[in-house]
Symmetry: C2
Subunit: 493 residues, 2 copies
């Protein structure tokens, strides 16, 4: 990953790579809370548990992420819709597994505390969509039907909440809902959704594990659930996306049928898949360091900050402003920081903390030589580039920084995945990452494994063959049983 | 308004203007409900009162409108934020006028119907913002603070609800909130907000009246409210935007102060201003006709539809596809409708109904002559344009159609505003528009006027001098009092 340095234009390297310090990041919760506030990205002091505020800088990041999510869904034939927040309790309760899975964490709504109309705030929208699918789907020519929305959903969490990670109002929930003529077509869309999500994570330079959730942890009402997890700096995983094949579980209770070519009415097969602001939380967590945030250039609201290094009698400010204008004219999100009441060093630290991936410096020496000095936030390398070549150089650098961040993040995650078949060793490794252990596939043994490891079974890998070289291993929790799969286990958010 | 025809490029006019029929539109509610469903823009069959669905075509329109709203707020120094839907009842109740104005229409939230946490769903966000303003504002350098969000707000309407017009979930509420050092600066922002809103309505070719709402109809908690109304095809007005100067009413109860240059702590002066999907509802209503919708080109998801007129042996489809590609390459939102199972006539009607402002036709004769025939939806005029000049022609036509729609809408509204000083005449005119009548300014007389006219006082004009030529007139409802203002009165949504 990453363009070899020699190929980054005709840039002269004036400072080599520096190791990024990531000590503070390991005290993850404290680091995270501090940095999202310091960067004025997010506000967690709102007086309602589990409800927080996106501030302008954070919302600009979020809008960039949403834009890419929309683009990928639109180009693959999903129509964007917006459904109401309210769902009648009567509809929500129709699918028995679904209501059982959610009833503990549903908010009810009433007018002024009286006259309960039996409305809930959606925790997810399957039961809002299905009555409409019933109206919109007549025959096979209406299928597949693929819609998505980006909106708030609500979960009355009893566990402790956490900014951007565990919320009672998930305000950036992208949920897609689709209906199909048969299982085959529905599962084609399950695979398509997985590919869309991989593209989203790649865009944000986030590494991921794809696992099929065990039966006891699948979405309430699903036939099966495929989930994406990534690894946080403290060794816990976080679920950052799920794709559900729902079979005819929902279409049967809502009586959603279509007229097939042969004239018979058949139940549609449905899927749903979701992603939320957790993708932003994990992006911040994975790339950050002791100096603060590091935003992937794809979604950085400011990709390049140009900082003049003043000297009496030299117009470095004019040159910085001109450089920023030229970058902007080329479609690069650049600003010049021309503040007089801050020193260059203060500005360097401030923009580093806010995660701007590329810094440009223009001082008297740069003026003399007709160059701009660029410093990349990910490796610390500095380059001297002639002014004429600056725009092309930055365009290349933007790609290289994103690639390098992605490569580094994947390496870090891979280093923290441990294949073990011993409980003691598994317990040890769980403090710093994911363990992959042998499992028979038996539910009771899986639950026992969770208990003895004080961790969660993420599921069997979908992105590799879980039965490879399992022969001869015994189930970690039930040694009397032969193992059939490798299964991922972790502590998690 | 509108470029004189002779200047629309070198286009040859092959069909002149046609009068648009607007008979069905006058049966407004039925016309509106039918057309938003037929055009697959909106869905009103959702099983919760006052809660509806934006379908993909409608949401594309809405996103275009939101984009312009964002652009105008961003460029005038507003930061976009996103606050939680939940407000603690305790905070909501702090400002006594505010809670009195809203308490009848507030939704309460509880977990599973029990344990009321005393949370409400925001009907507007002043009381959510203020505690945060208190944290964010330290001294005069933090002022002005200007933020906005586009999000759902909730009103437990007791009146009958109506798709896109009277909602219990207003899902496209743009609310701006600002804090200032003094009244003067706050009122500068009131004027700025009015200019922003004028630009939004102009962009959507919507005419408007700007009035200062009477005391009894101002926003609960405001010092005063400036409101925008427009006229619907049935002669009723609809409020499409409001701007409030809130003085120190909210800052005092939330104790939001700043340290002034002189070292003293002072209360901030605040404003708020809002606009909602009503702006889209009125845009659809004002421009539509008996054939369906007409979308202003600025926000039409499809600005040009290219329709081939088939003839055996001629490649009109290829030519239509190429024309659409060329228009798209020039940044115009164009598609070619190449469906084989629909006739050109069916397509003409269908796209007219969906409001596409410009149609291009390519038949064998057009191929022979090397031209494309363009038909504009607003005037019915048809032009023959050489293929080479088509892109430039369409760019001009897009502007001309928007201007012509704006001009026509303003003329229509102006024709329905009647200056009268007689109750009988006022009652008569109120069936088709707005009356402007003499008023003393006395609240009791204003309320009496509302009652005898069975209509609402919109307020005294802000966009013209309300005291002009009022001399000698008597208050319409209190003939013993001298009139001091002209005041607008209408039936309204």
């Amino acid at each position: 990953m990453g363009i070899p340095i020699a190929e980054l234009g005709k840039a002269r390297i004036v400072r080599g790579r520096r190791e990024r310090k990531r000590e503070k990041v390991k005290d993850f919760i404290n680091w995270f809370n501090k940095v999202i506030m310091d960067a004025e990205l997010y506000e967690y002091r709102y007086p309602v548990k589990g409800a927080y505020i996106w501030r302008p800088y954070g919302l600009r990041v979020r809008r960039m992420v949403e834009e890419e999510i929309r683009r990928l869904h639109d180009e693959s034939g999903h129509g964007e819709v917006l459904f109401p927040v309210f769902i009648p309790l009567e509809y929500f309760s129709k699918e028995s597994e679904h209501i059982r899975g959610f009833e503990e964490e549903v908010f009810w709504v009433s007018k002024g505390g009286k006259d309960p109309e039996r409305l809930i705030l959606r925790p997810t929208s399957e039961t809002a969509m299905m009555p409409m699918f019933k109206l919109w789907i007549k025959d096979h020519t209406d299928l597949p039907l693929k819609v998505y929305q980006i909106a708030s959903v609500f979960r009355a969490e009893t566990k402790s909440t956490h900014p951007m990670i565990r919320l009672r109002e998930i305000s950036m929930f992208k949920e897609a809902h689709t209906a199909h003529a048969d299982r085959e077509d529905a599962e084609r869309t399950v695979r398509e959704a997985i590919e869309i999500y991989k593209k989203i994570y790649d865009y944000l330079s986030i590494p991921y594990l794809i696992s099929r959730r065990p039966e006891w942890d699948k979405f309430a009402g699903a036939v099966y659930t495929i989930a994406f997890d990534t690894l946080m700096p403290d060794g816990k995983t976080i679920q950052i996306g799920t794709v559900h094949y729902l079979g005819t579980n929902f279409s049967k209770v809502f009586d959603v049928t279509y007229l097939d070519k042969d004239g018979s009415a058949k139940y549609v097969h449905t899927t749903s898949y979701g992603i939320s602001e957790r993708v932003i939380a994990s992006m911040l967590a994975i790339h950050g360091d002791d100096s603060g945030l590091l935003l992937p250039p794809n979604i950085a609201p400011i990709q390049v900050v140009v900082i003049p290094i003043p000297q009496e009698g030299r117009d470095v400010k004019g040159a910085a402003e001109k450089a920023a204008e030229e970058l902007k004219a080329a479609g690069i999100r650049a600003i010049a920081d021309l503040r007089d009441d801050k020193t260059p060093g203060w500005k360097f630290n401030d923009w580093e903390m806010r995660g701007v991936p590329i810094r440009a410096e223009i001082g008297p020496k740069d003026l003399d030589k007709g160059v701009i000095t660029f410093a990349r936030r990910d490796t610390g390398e500095k380059y001297e580039v002639s002014r004429e070549e600056a725009v092309d150089f930055v365009k290349e650098l933007i790609v290289d920084v994103g690639d390098n961040m992605r490569g580094e993040a994947w390496s870090n995650m891979r280093r923290s995945i441990y294949v073990v078949d011993d409980i003691k060793e598994a317990l040890n490794k769980l403090n710093s990452g994911v363990v992959v252990v042998p499992w028979s596939g038996d539910e009771q043994c899986g639950l026992k494994m969770q208990e003895s490891l004080d961790a969660n079974v993420l599921g069997v890998p979908v992105d590799s063959d879980p039965s490879e070289q399992i022969g001869g291993h015994r189930d970690l929790a039930c040694p009397d049983k032969e193992a059939n799969y490798w299964v991922r286990v972790s502590r998690r958010y």
